[in-house]
């Protein structure tokens, strides 16, 4: 699974992208956020309040309850401030 990060999520985690092998019990977006949070201080800082994190799967917004695809690109980012 390819993960990409943007804005302060990227800064706190300290990287733009990484490829991870997810344990089988990580099935949903919420599971992924909880799993990532335990991977180190940067992740814990970025995902302290997982409910505010927005997630896209293959470049489309998804809810935290959504099932993760077997493979693909999952993006984590803060609420958007464009326009």
């Amino acid at each position: 699974m390819k993960l990409v990060y943007f804005a302060w999520v990227r800064e706190r985690i300290g990287r733009e992208t990484e490829t991870v092998a997810l344990p089988q019990e990580v099935e949903t977006v919420a599971d992924l956020l909880a799993w990532l949070k335990g991977r180190g201080d940067g992740y814990a800082a970025a995902l302290e309040y997982p409910e505010v994190i927005r997630v896209a799967v293959d470049r489309e917004h998804v809810e935290h309850e959504a099932k993760l695809p077997a493979d693909g690109e999952v993006a984590l980012f803060p609420p958007m401030t464009g326009g």
């Binding site: 993006a75 980012f77 609420p79 958007m80 464009g82 326009g83």
Partner: protein, 157 residues
Amino acid sequence: MAEHCQPLVRVEANDFDIAAEIDRLTAGRQDVGAVVTFTGRCRDEGGRLAALELEHYPGMAEAEIGRIADEAAERWPLTGLTVIHRFGKLRPGENIVLVVAASTHRKAALEAADFLMDFLKSRAPFWKKEHPAGGEDGRWVEAKAQDEEALGRWGKV
């Protein structure tokens, strides 16, 4: 119902030419009775701001703006629709975003432009970082609850 117009979406670092974009939707046409443009610009926040840095998610930014623009083209009888969003470091006075909506009658163009901007703010994957004039570290702009609430008035999308 007539066919929907095909929106033009661009995400780029370069500035845009508003007159040229209006011309693109009106040149040689006699059916366009209204053209609405909205330009979002970088403001200096009373002298406090030196620059705004716009980060975006390449690929998704274009795709998401395209989805929002398609929705607008389905909802309103537009003859043309263009959305351009810039990224990178922008200084006060520079353009950030342009929406050009054209229609036969004004209401469709006005409403579509308003709709586009509401959804761009909360759905298009862009993030603004403010760089203060004093040279301090940049600070990410926080999303406003009212931006999210503004979507409610357009019903289900």
